[in-house]
């Protein structure tokens, strides 16, 4: 048994589908890669028939793991039906949410659907930091939702995006996650993408802040070993993309309108689930990573980080 990740080119289908089910969101976060927000749903998001046809394909092809994100996925009118479909058909599902809709009824339904985990974004250990990052966000409501989720028995994961104004709270945020019953805590460098391109001057931590930030995370990783998984990656966006050029993950990013991207942080689209089968798109995914335009884009990024402002100007390969 080899614990290294399977080489995606040898696989019959993706292992992981990350589906942005809607671009609508109740918040308008400073760093949102998708530039989601109130009134930002795409005009051509998949309809009911299309959604369940796509889900059926994922099941038929044996995709073992899906995540639903957004925007705010719990705002999608079919969110629970979709989650229940995934659970009923034996795949694992992670829900990535801002935690504002974790009512007792919704948490009970998530538990009943058998979701693997709910990942909640909690960028700070104080209302001040949280609200500075998550415009229209409510820190106390998020904490209350997390407590309700824990009481319902749904596994919790916390995600933390560092900035110049919240990086110093990382230790307290890890501790808070543990007291809330989280099983995992994730962090890494905030990416210069989406809304962050416009707000970078307010966001970016200095290298000294990052050094302190990762030092605390290393310490917390040890402190919580065996009790809560503290996972973080220090690699920046460019290094990550260079690595992926040679080691594509067995992961497809599905946009709310059914287009399929190679990876979030690139503008390249390798398929359209409205018009193509998953098998066809998976084959094209393998070819697309070899397309010279992808490597050229990553090279351009090294000289001009602002290239990431073009992520939503999709390029079909």
């Amino acid at each position: 048994m080899n614990k290294d990740a399977a080489v995606s080119a040898e696989l019959s289908a993706p292992l992981y589908i990350a589906w942005q089910v809607t671009n609508e969101c109740n918040l308008a976060c400073l760093h949102c890669i998708e530039e989601s927000g109130p009134g930002k749903a795409f005009s051509d998001e998949l309809n009911r028939d299309e959604i369940f046809a796509v889900l059926q394909q994922f099941v038929d092809q044996g995709v073992p793991y899906l995540s639903f994100s957004g925007g705010e996925p719990m705002l999608h009118p079919l969110f629970f039906e979709m989650a229940e479909f995934v659970g009923r058909n034996g795949a694992s599902l992670k829900v990535e949410t801002n935690g504002h809709y974790l009512t007792p009824e919704n948490c009970a339904r998530l538990k009943q659907a058998g979701v693997k985990a709910v990942q909640v974004s909690l960028d700070g250990a104080s209302a001040a930091s949280f609200s500075a990052m998550r415009i229209r966000g409510d820190f106390d409501r998020t904490l209350a939702g997390l407590r309700t989720l824990h009481a319902a028995g749904v596994p919790i994961e916390i995600n933390f995006s560092p900035t110049g104004f919240n990086a110093h709270e990382i230790g307290a945020a890890v501790d808070l996650a543990f007291t809330l019953g989280a099983e995992s805590f994730y962090s890494g460098r905030t990416m210069y993408t989406g809304n962050a391109v416009k707000t970078w001057h307010k966001l970016t931590p200095s290298e000294a802040q990052y050094a302190d930030f990762f030092a605390v995370l290393r310490q917390k990783e040890e402190e919580y070993r065996g009790r809560m998984r503290v996972h973080f990656h220090e690699m920046g966006l460019l290094d990550e993309l260079r690595y992926r050029l040679h080691h594509p993950a067995a992961l497809l990013i599905v946009l709310p309108n059914g287009l399929v991207k190679l990876i979030n942080a690139l503008p390249f689209v390798c398929g359209d689930l409205r018009r193509q089968s998953l098998s066809e798109i998976w084959a094209n995914f393998q070819r697309a990573w070899q397309d010279p335009k992808v490597a050229a884009f990553v090279d351009r990024l090294a000289h001009d980080p602002g290239t990431t402002s073009q992520l939503h100007q999709w390029v079909r390969l």
């Binding site: 048994m1 614990k3 290294d4 040898e10 292992l15 044996g62 073992p64 694992s92």
Partner: protein
């Protein structure tokens, strides 16, 4: 014995993959390992070392009578990594 709830198995042309979706770790399996895991995934009383080895002897050439040891070794590895559990 059975696969843990969040462990997913899929057969592939090279054998198979086990995906531990809680830690998001992927394990690749060769043909023989995939055959063992397929038996475990099928579940029931037959998902134990003896019955699995007996069934696999009909499929794999085993002149050194090594198969049962291989099955045992793989199952131990799966247990150590938290990928299988006893049935309730």
């Amino acid at each position: 014995m059975q696969l843990c709830k969040f462990v997913k198995f899929r057969e592939e042309s090279f054998g198979g993959v086990l995906f531990e979706t809680r830690s998001e770790k992927v394990y690749t399996l060769n043909q023989a390992a995939a055959a063992i895991v397929r038996e475990i995934a099928a579940g029931g009383d037959m998902a134990e070392v003896g019955p699995i080895s007996q069934r696999l002897k009909t499929r794999f050439h085993d002149p050194a009578d090594q198969l049962e040891q291989d099955v045992l070794a793989l199952i131990r590895t799966l247990q150590q990594r938290g990928l299988v559990e006893e049935q309730p």
